[in-house]
């Protein structure tokens, strides 16, 4: 018989390396037509790093994202990145991009000062234009600055970085330290159907409500959440490389026939995503890390939902049909 159940989970997740101290650097260079080369060696692995990095640099320079190119391709030309891990890239590259943009604006003003006949401090920068505060008609665009600086042999490159402050040494007795200043938060509700004759669990509804601070690009963030849901469901229901562990590591899965990962058939029948956007006081434009937390709520929410449906508690992941069925049978025997 199909039994319905509902479960939930609430999590939080640190942004950046534990203990801080993981810097990134961004460079911004104006080309002769006013378009901008951005560099930072973070990795694009599906999460949308390049799009989000450009959006934050564009925001900091108050110009459209379409005028950017980004180079993250190698260690000879792309500015330093500590790693692409720990839900850190949006946050740390974003702060580095803001710093690089400030540096670029300062250098633009220094270069334009001579042409516009004013001291750098008398100039204002807005939306890709630098102009005299007292006479906005005395102005130069990024294209004019890019051409004039390059063809006069002047280098204009904005560089900036960000270092999350390293936490104090951990107290060995109490564990006191500062692992991170910024945390993302989230709650998920999952409705399941459990077949008590086969132990098969199906995800019916999945509701995620996450706070990743300001959402820099909702398309990318929703993509992360959808992917996280699938990976979380997979951890909850399917993935186990060595099912006979800890007795033995054999038989060990070595292919996707023995090692089950979800397909479209395993997606929730219905899922919804909502972001509540608290403003992180430290993050770029109020953003927090997103990448990892979105894969954390599903396993406990599923296990809690299974309990709600059939009254058995899966105390070791994953909640395979075999495991669920054995628990149901044990429960029946005990009753």
């Amino acid at each position: 018989m199909i039994k319905k159940g509902r479960g939930m989970a609430t999590v939080y997740y640190p942004t950046g390396f534990s203990g801080g101290g993981d810097p990134d650097i961004v460079s911004l260079r104006i080309k002769t037509d006013g378009t901008i080369d951005m560099t930072n060696a973070s990795c694009e692995m599906g999460q949308g790093f390049k799009s989000v990095a450009i959006q934050m640099a564009a925001e900091a320079l108050d110009v459209p994202p379409s005028i950017f190119t980004i180079d993250n391709t190698n260690t000879d030309t792309a500015a330093f990145s500590m790693d692409t891990a720990g839900s850190r890239s949006t946050y740390i590259v974003g702060l580095a991009a803001i710093s690089a943009a400030e540096d670029l604006i300062k250098k633009i003003k220094e270069f334009a000062a001579a042409s516009l006949g004013a001291a750098p401090a008398e100039l204002k920068y807005e939306a890709g234009k630098v102009f005299k505060a007292s006479d906005p008609s005395a102005a130069m665009t990024l294209a004019q600055i890019g051409a004039a600086s390059t063809y006069s042999g002047t280098s204009i490159m904005g560089g900036g970085g960000f270092l999350p402050p390293p936490g104090p040494p951990r107290d060995p007795e109490t564990g006191a330290t500062v692992p991170t200043r910024s945390l993302a938060w989230g709650s998920t509700v999952i409705d399941v159907e459990v077949d008590d004759e086969t132990g098969v669990v199906e995800i019916v509804n999945l509701y995620d409500c996450y706070d990743i601070g300001t959402v820099i690009n909702p398309l990318m963030a929703e993509g992360q959440v959808d992917g996280g849901d699938i990976q979380g469901i997979s951890m909850g229901l399917f993935e186990d490389l060595s099912p006979y562990f800890p007795k033995t590591l054999d038989v060990y899965a070595s292919n996707f026939t023995d090692y089950i990962i979800p397909t479209f058939m395993d997606m929730p029948r219905h899922s919804e995503i909502k972001f509540v956007q608290s403003h992180d006081p430290f993050g770029p434009f109020g953003a927090k890390g997103c990448g990892e937390m979105v894969t954390n709520t599903q396993p406990p929410a599923i296990v809690n939902a299974i309990y709600d449906a059939v009254g058995v508690l899966v105390e070791s992941l994953p909640a395979t049909p075999e495991k669920v069925l054995r628990l149901i049978e044990e429960k029946k025997k005990a009753e």
Binding site: G7, M8, T10, V11, Y12, Y13, S42, C43, E44, M45, K50, S51, Q55, A58, E59, I70, T73, D76, F80, A85, G86, P172, T174, G175, P179, R181, L183, W185, G186, S187, V189, Y207, D211, I216, N217, P218, M235, D240, L241, S242, F245, P246, K247, L249, S254, F256, K274, V276, H279, F285, E292, T295, N296, T297, P300, V303, N304, E315, S316, L317
Partner: protein, 429 residues
């Protein structure tokens, strides 16, 4: 804001969906050699002798390397992992020797000609057995990691748990465990390495952190950073697996040795059997809870099975310890974490990294507490939620908390009625 918050399409999305994006697996070069490695068939063994003379003479072989050919045979974030195995191997599939040959078949034929004599040793697989005195030793320093150089226990202490348990109306215990898990990226690990016209070693890499890998392997190759270039930055999935090096080191060594481009591409089977994984965890909770739903004390014992080398296991334990008590204000808390080495693949990073495994345990335990008290799952989460300004379990103040707001949000989405009391709550006190 004009850019931030906008649904701007993916910068390189068209390339991905039309097949124009070049991944490492797509990189091909003229005269490129294929690398295959000899892997240890036992969970633990002593290599008594190894004779590569015949294999080196096999047709199509350009180079064959063992540990003696590695300038510095240690790598990884905590550099205790051997590029090619030393006398004692620690996990099934550990690389012992590597061949670069003109074809995959020639490479495999050469590997078959290596004469190697093993003494199979008793492995230890179960982390709860491995921590015991007298367990077979995984590494010379002992199976237990010594935190701060002196303690097998990594502690968190807040308040007084014994006093907290006295205040409780119920004491609830639970034990939870998580298995070994594979990252399962679409693109398996691949490196293409060559020496460029200036004599620089160039490695097309799947690394999630190009500079991270470059810094690590500069030590292995003993090369300055202007003689070692990593190329990549767009990969077919990582999920943390590509924070560890699986092929870059060996491909690079063979490119240096042969002067030719060398490709080392793991098969799906190799990726699943022999690369880093999310290794197992065991969590034991003992909680005290009052009738009103307030958690008065929590004691957690954590055991992380790190596998055979440290890789990112230690980092995962640190992150886990700080987060294991969950998004709840708990005044009396004791966390005791241990990390133990066993004869399985090393503990890599994997999305959710040390945290999600603990959150599975903690969130299932939290529902157990709610049932004991007779309140709903959502109520116990509201009652114990962190607020902005509360001290985290590590003592530092929490900024921009929003457990309460996400609970209110998810309740509305899923059609759960909340009482006025919970609707009026806020993370700002």
């Amino acid at each position: 804001m004009n850019s931030v918050g906008k649904r701007i399409p993916r910068y390189d999305g068209i390339g991905h969906v039309t097949g124009r994006t070049q991944y490492v697996s797509d990189v091909a070069m003229p005269d490129m050699l294929t690398c295959k490695t000899l892997r240890c068939p036992y969970h633990k063994a002593r290599i008594k002798s190894i004779d590569t003379a015949e294999a080196k003479k096999a047709p199509g072989v350009y180079a064959l390397i063992t540990k003696d050919d590695v300038p510095h045979n240690l790598f990884a974030m905590v550099p205790d992992h051997h590029v090619l195995a030393e006398e004692i191997t620690r996990y099934k599939g550990q690389n012992i020797a590597a061949v670069a040959a003109i074809t995959k078949e020639a490479a495999l034929d050469a590997l078959a000609k290596i004469k190697i004599e093993y003494e199979e040793l008793t492995p230890i697989i179960d982390p709860e057995e491995a921590i015991k005195d007298g367990a077979p030793q995984v590494r010379p320093e002992g199976n237990n990691h010594m935190f701060d150089g002196s303690s097998v226990i990594r502690k968190i202490r807040r308040g007084n748990v014994e006093e907290g348990f006295k205040e409780a109306d119920f004491i609830i215990e639970g034990r939870y465990s998580t298995p070994s898990q594979e990252h399962a990226p679409l693109e398996t690990c691949c490196s293409v390495a060559y020496v460029d016209a200036s004599g620089k070693l160039v490695i097309h890499s799947k690394a999630q952190g190009l500079y991270f890998a470059q810094g690590d392997l500069a030590n292995v190759f003993k090369l300055p950073l202007n003689k070692l270039k990593f190329v990549g930055g767009t990969i077919g999935g990582g999920f943390g697996g590509m924070n560890s090096i699986h092929t870059d080191h060996i491909a690079g060594l063979l490119a240096l040795k042969t002067g030719k481009p060398v490709r080392f591409h793991l098969t799906r089977e190799e990726e699943m059997l022999y690369s880093t994984i999310r290794t197992p965890w065991v969590f034991k909770f003992k909680d005290g809870i009052r009738k009103d739903g307030v958690i008065t004390a929590r004691r957690v014992e954590v055991l992380h099975d790190c596998g055979s080398y440290t890789e990112l296991g230690l980092y995962a334990v640190e992150k886990n310890a700080n987060m294991i008590a969950g998004a709840n204000l708990i005044k009396n808390l004791a966390v005791d974490s241990r990390m133990v080495y066993t004869n399985k693949m090393p503990s890599g990073s994997m999305r959710g990294f040390g945290v999600n495994v603990g959150q599975y345990a903690e969130q299932v335990q939290l529902d157990r507490l709610a049932r004991a008290v007779g309140i709903s799952p959502i109520e116990i989460r509201f009652i114990n939620a962190f607020h902005t300004g509360d001290p985290n379990h590590t003592g530092n103040p929490i900024a921009a908390a929003s457990t309460i707001e996400t609970l209110q949000g998810v309740a509305a989405m899923s059609g759960q009625q909340l009482s006025d009391k919970y609707l009026a709550m806020s993370s700002e006190k």
